[in-house]
Every structure is written in C-alpha cells, then in structure tokens.
Symmetry: C2
Subunit: 291 residues, 2 copies
C-alpha cells in the first residue's frame, strides 16, 4: 500500500524523536517518545534570512521551499548550491542571481494559527494572479487518500505533536512530510517539488493543519488546485480560496467532509456505506504514542 | 458551573465568526460557521512592531501580552495609554519609558509548531533565572478543570479552528482566551494578568496547544508553575521545563495524562473510576461545529 510514495516519513530515524521518562495518571513510571525540535538558520547567499525550529530532516528542501514560498526565490532562479552544516545547524542556498531582501526582512506579518512571519502584501498578489487548473476531484480518491495517509507509519503515530502534509495525485499519495511546524512541512514539500520539477497542476494537497489564509496562499503559490484538511477553516482562508478558484475541503474525518470552495468540481462516486469512521487511534491525535 | 470565570469566550459575538455556505460529503448544501482572522498592527510608542493575524477580541490585552512575552515591556513599565483603532486595525501601547527595539526587530527566530517570531536568545535567559513556586497539584483539580473547560461555551465548540488557553487556580478556571493563533491566546492572557495584577505563583496554565519550547518559555516568563495540555510534547520543551522546574503535563484527555517534568509535585487524590472518557464531541476537534 505504501509503495506509491516517492518520499515518506522515517519514524525510526533516531534524530527525529527521543525517549523521555515520566509518569502517567496513576503515578506509574513510563517512557514515551517525544518529537525533537532544533534550530536551523537559513542563509540566502551572504544574507541571514531566518532561524526556524524544525525536526531537522530535509534541511535543503526546507530552505528552498521557505525561500520560494516567501517569494525570495523565483521559479526561474538557478540554485548553484545548497550547503548544510549539521554541526552548526546552518543551511546556505546559493543562487546565480544576486539577491537582497534587507527591506523585506524588516517587515514581517505574523500569521495566524501555526505560522511563520510573512510579508503578506506580496503574497496576496499570488492570489490575484492565480490561474489554477480547474481539475475535477472524485470523492473516492479523497477517502482512499485519507485511508492510506492515516495508515502510513509516521512520526505522528510514533511520537505525536507534529503536523503532516502530503502531495497526492488522484488516489495516490506521492510525498509525505512532517514537522513540528506545519509551515515547515509545507515548505519542505515545496522544496521537494521544485528540486524534482513536479507538475502541480494535477495534484491534491493534504494537510493536517487548519485552512488559514496563509495555508491557502501557499497552496496557490505552489500551483496546486485542491487543498484538503482534517482540520477546520478560517473565514479569510475561504474567501481567498474562492478568489483564487482553489478547491477547499476541510473537516475531512471518517465519512465526513465539507467543501467551502470549488464544490462544483467534486464527483460523488464513493458509496458512503463502504467508508469506515475514523479509527480511535486517529481521533486520539496527540495521545497516539501511548495507545 | 461557569460563574467561576472572571473572563470567558463569547461565541455569540458576531465579529468573531461568520456563516459561510458550502456542501457536505453527500453534495448537500449546508451553512457552517467559520472563525474570523483579521490583521492587527501593533505599535510600541512610535515604533511599528508587528502585524498579527487574530480573531480580534481583546486587542489591548493581546498588545500588552505580546510585548511582555517578547520582553519589550518590563514588569515595572508604566503603561500610559493603550489606543485601539477598530477602523485601522491598529493598537498603540504607550509607555512612560522610552523604548527602542529596532535591533531586536531585525533578528527573529521563527519558532516551531504554531508560533510567532521570537528573539530566542533573550527568552532563554528567562529559563535560567526562573524561580517558579514549587506548588503541589491535585489530580482531582486536573480532571475537574478539563471537565469545566471542555463544557464551557466557546468559539472552539461553535466554529472550530481555534486554540484556547485558560488560567486556573486549584480546580477553578479563571480566565479563558481563544484565538486562531495559539500564541495570541497566550499573549492575551498575559496582558489580562498584567492589567489585573494577577499573582501567577499559585496558578495552573491550561492550553490546547502543543508543549513546545516556546510555550514553556512563555509560561515561565509569566511566572506560572504548572503547564497542562491536551496535546503532546517536544523534547526541547521537556528539557526547558525541567531546567526551569515547571511542572509539565501533556496528552491530558479523558482519564489519561503524562507528566514529563515535576511529576513529584502531583497528589493522586482522584478515583479514576469516576472519571469519564473524553466525550465524542471533544475528540472530533475540528469537526465540532457540525456535530
């Protein structure tokens, strides 16, 4: 079932989680796994851009995706090198084009929910100029995708406290990234897509995070026409999705989902009697590691 | 049950959520409520500090709490005025002391999970100098608190997609804030505590968000000795809590919880047979509005 993935989580990577001891509600000693967060400082050429807290896998993809989604890298930029220093927790992206974002770095908007600072004005332009493919979406794909994604071995199942996002095509998940920062997970996926020249126009983007304005803007920036989440919506996220003609599907759990934009692109080919309710394991989100 | 609160959510406030139409998994048209996010630009005296995305209630508390938690306001600062302009979505905090954070604003670390940019170096000093009261914690308080909090009418129950945090004393919740950004919820509570001169040393801080390094640092900064969450942990969050001697309790759902720091301060006075498992409504977090 998992061989459809080109990239998926490695919950056994010892650098991504660690065992800690504590006690449970009866006072009994226990050991549990918790997720690691570590700083990663990003340079674009000679300029320090930001320090992010991340689980630390795929620093190169995170760096490239962050710069793309912040509009500091252009789609036609040539990346001459990406150097990662594991000792220093530093990643340097070098481009042929000279870059200078001194002014941009001065002015950041802190965005809602789970967010990194973003210069919002720029990003809103992405919405206005959006030309997303108006692909159709079969509901049978949605249920198949959530079933496979929820069954995939992940840090989320092993240690909790991470967000995941998955790039999918029809009913197949292709690349699954996780991070303690949900925007890091998105950015890692954006970096992977850029480096592997993935066509976004026939893809579906699944996230565990909420459908906020920033999540919608990033998805539109990435050129993906469908955004699906198990979480809920914000009003501005819905409004921007409608403007950009992004199909926006949320609260996708078990049999249920709601489409608040692009619902006319859905094909209802799934017999709902054959869909299981979400498993207890998945409902007990943060507690997953103890089940 | 709710008259113990000095401040609690107002889910009926029409500015905080709005009705939007869409379709469900059967193609049936529906209307649902979604949370609002709006920008709020914060000035400290003449200096523009940041633009935040927030649900928009309590802008004055958010402004003061943000500045306190970013160490741009000191505990002994005298606030001469807080001016909020609803038309412009601008809040200005004026202090008697002259302030200048040009340099600080240049260098921000983007923190994990759900986060605002923070100059981390400064904040880590809060951990080193921490002198938290080593209060005891009855497990009966914990179960009573989560029961009352989960039953309290909230935006979370009405529209989903928000985080909540609650300041508690023994088994009584005192102040409950919600926001689309979980750090906004914390900062609003910090602002409320500052303006109302609330003693933090005998309090318990409950959050729906994950127990990351930044959440631990903010709790320590606020002087609260116990942090409880229904969500999970990060390794660095646990490490910092142990250094600061903050009691750290996570994955608190239904009968269960785990203490990964300060477990020796727990008094196990609750008969677990009398604790109900978490209700279905609360397990179906983001889908709450549709149940």
């Amino acid at each position: 079932m998992f061989d459809v993935y080109r990239l998926r989580p490695d919950p056994d990577d010892p650098r991504l989680s660690q065992a800690v001891s504590g006690i449970d509600q009866t006072g009994r000693a226990l050991e549990t796994r918790v997720i690691v967060e570590r700083p990663l400082t990003l340079y674009l050429n000679a300029q320090e851009i930001v320090t992010m807290m991340t689980i630390g896998d795929h620093p190169e993809y995170l760096a490239i995706g962050y710069l793309l989604n912040q509009m500091m890298l252009r789609r036609d930029d040539v990346i001459s090198a990406v150097d990662f220093d594991r000792e220093l927790d530093v990643v340097v992206v070098r481009t042929e084009r000279q870059t200078d974002y001194e002014e941009k770095l001065r002015k950041r908007t802190l965005t809602s929910g789970c967010a990194q600072g973003t210069a919002f004005g720029d990003l809103l332009e992405a919405i206005e100029g959006a030309e997303l493919a108006q692909t159709l979406l079969r509901t049978s794909w949605l249920y198949r995708l959530t079933h496979v994604i929820n069954s995939t071995p992940s840090l989320y199942l092993a240690a909790g406290a991470v967000h995941g996002c998955v790039l999918c095509e029809e009913d197949r998940p292709l690349a699954y990234m996780e991070d303690v920062g949900r925007h890091n997970a998105v950015d890692k996926l954006a970096g992977w897509m850029f480096q592997n020249r993935i066509d976004p126009s026939n893809k579906i983007f699944y996230t565990t995070g909420r459908l906020t304005s920033e999540m919608v803007i990033k998805t539109v920036r990435m050129g993906i026409p469908v955004l699906v989440s198990r979480s809920g919506f914000t009003a501005w996220g819905v409004e921007l999705a409608r403007q950009a003609r992004l199909a926006l599907i949320g609260r996708a759990r078990g049999k249920r989902f709601i489409a608040l934009a692009g619902g006319e692109r859905l094909i209802f080919d799934q017999d709902l009697d054959e869909v299981a309710e979400e498993s207890r394991l998945h409902r007990r989100k943060a507690a997953a590691a103890d089940d």
